[in-house]
Amino acid sequence: MTTVAIENLTRHFGRTRALDDISLSIDDGHFVSFLGPSGCGKSTTLRVLAGFDACDRGRILFDGQDVAALPPEQRDIGMVFQSYALFPHMTVGQNVAFGLEMRRLPRDAIRQRVRAVLDLVHLADHSDRHPRQLSGGQQQRVALARALVIEPRILLLDEPLANLDAILREEMRVFIRELQQRIGITTIYVTHDQAEAMAMSDMIVVMFGGRVAQVAPPRDLYECPGSLQVASFVGQANYLAGHVAHDNGQLAVVTPLGTRPLDGRSAITAPAPARNILIRPESICITPPAASDAVPATVISVQYGGNLTNYVLALADGQQLHVQTATPPSHAGGDRVGVRLADAPLWVIPDCRP
Amino acid sequence: MNMPRLLPVLCCAVYFFLLAPILVVVLASFNAGAFLTFPPQGLSLRWYRTFFHNAVFLRAFIESMEIAVAATSISAVIGTMAALFSMRTTPALANIVRLGMTLPLVLPEVLTAIGLLFFFYAMGIGVHYSVALLVGHVLLTLPFIYINVSTSLRSFDPSWELAARSLGASPFVTFYRVTMPLMKSGLTSGCLFGFIVSFDAFSTSFLLKDVGTATLPIQLFDYLRLNFTPEAAAVSTFSIIVTFLIVIMTKTIFGIRFTK
């Protein structure tokens, strides 16, 4: 069982800093996602962990052992590539057996383990096919089997679902996560899809411009983002100008839409002026215009999404609000409505003034 | 990517190996001395002067240009038509066409030339009037036109032509306004390659030339068997410069790219 620690990892490509002093530790058996826009350094981090790229500075520890100087074949990793990189001249069985042959296992053991892992990914009867004869989802599972059969210390996945269609992607999310939990392997997953990262991970590492912006479990990331950038990248957000004040002996957040208690996870311990308050679209309720403690607003547009309805509203001062309800549309563009905040604590975005 | 450190060194050595004989010829052409020595004994253009006053070489150069232009033009028409056919027909048939069109490239040039020699003799024409020579050069250039045009047509969607027709364009206008612009770059680079291959061809010209005529490579070859003066280097450098000028001109006029 393996823990991973990254210390002060730095990597330059020419003048640009692809990785800027990355430090991180990953617990044994955890599923950690690196999330960020393209070019943020998440793939580079993975390549450095795998040994495909060198780092200029820093240490990589697997179970406390520094592997930064080891070539990839000696790091004992399992990797699934975005393109799958299945060897086209080998059958599924030969692809899966390759890593075991490199470890010089006896023939019988190889055959058994290939069989077992193909069972695990439901491809036992496809062993003699060539990769090109398989569907995208099947190729994906072969790639997974090939990486897992060598029982690596850690599993690295580089945007493995990017080439699949939407339905298959949802299926594979569940499949991979379930498999990972069953085996209990430490897993690092790179993606630019925040929904994917949220659905699968124990922990998410958000990266921007070669730096780590925030490390948090999915729920904390969504509810308590550390910066405006993170808040906008992880789901849709409204920002209201507000301030923190005492209210009945407690700290409360005062916004144009009303006052609510301060989220307990916040580091703020004293009243503070002029802050950006995060309001997710689903924490705003639409009321009749005349309802008590409601603020008047005008409906600008309505988007029906089946299980959800998305509204864009405008307040009297012109500020636009994204609102999401779980009910079918009950208003149309131009309608006058009222809005109020749901009864939940509010998150003040740290170090960020409007 | 981790690469053995020796690899770049080896590659540079190979690139030097590839360029060395060409550089040597160019440098030798500026030799002031009467014999081919290296490094040159002083720089001069005297051998270029000799060359430009040598009627035999100049005639050969003009002959080479004429035959290259004529052969490339004929191949351009035939090869483009074949490429257009490949695009419109079934993949199986297109494969056969491709095989046939690249055949002259795969068959030994000497053998093809011998066959043509025999054939034209049997026809009663022999090597007279440069007909055999022209046909030989058409065979040399044809594969290059075909390969380049079909490559540029590979991403061509036949429904584009249908779209143009549905918008009211006649078949001719469709070809001129839709098909032609899309294959222009392939045709240009095909003609360029064809021209250069024809301009530099040796075996075909050697076996099929009419008595008393010679292309530049042949004249140079004949000269080299008997002489060792730097005039040969001047002629060689001149032909290199002509080729490069044509490449650069084509590149600037038609703006084609050579690397994918």
Partner: protein
Amino acid sequence: MRKYLLIVPAVVVLLVFLVIPYIDIIFISLHPAADDRPYGSGFTLRNYVQVLTDGYLVHQTAMTLWIGLVTTCATLVLGFPVAWFMAHSSARARAIQQGIVLMPLLVGIVVRSYGWTVILGNNGILNRLARDIGLTRSVLPLMYNSLGIVIALTHVFLPFMILPIFGTIRSLDPALFLAGRSLGASPAITMRRVILPLTMPGIQSGCVLVFILSVSAYVTPMLIGGMRVKTMPMTVVNTLIDAFQWPFGAAQALVLSAIGALIVLVFFRLTPLRWSR
């Protein structure tokens, strides 16, 4: 079916000027020689018997094929690493390298062979250099022998080896090499087990192209060998043009081609089967 008109000219040209002439070669090789004409009438196998029993010609054929094989191996050994390096260079560096590899193709074969005579000749650059640094007192035999021919042919045909291999390497997913490494294979083993089989189509076409070209080369052996080493194409041209014995020359050319084709077939048999996409 108006579209079939498009292919008519090409078919006519290939049939009349390629297929028929090749058949013609076979026909003429079966005719007897004649004094006043290129070939006489009647049917005979004597030309073939003559080619296959003449010790000098047999030796020359073997020599020609040997030069072809050595040239093919040399271009492969030099060309594969270059193709690999080129394919893994940055876009800019790759364009420059492609230019260097393509450049010799823009320069005529006579000129390039001439360049090698300047380098390899008895008073050439290499010999002068060797004398100047005191490496040797006598003349290094670099030209007028098969070594010189192989060196020059390797140069002349190297681009034909590099380009097809480069093409197949470029078409491979770069992650394949990394996948091999991630599964515990060293670079050498990944190369042998993964990359080599996948680049085999490029290697095959490069080898076949270079072999055919170097076995049928005329100019380079002529200029470098200086008539002291004779290869079959030189003898064939001699027989046809100077001795005017067309049937005998045709038979020589066909025997060489047949043996060459046989070697190509054996080569395809020995190399691992192409995997098709």
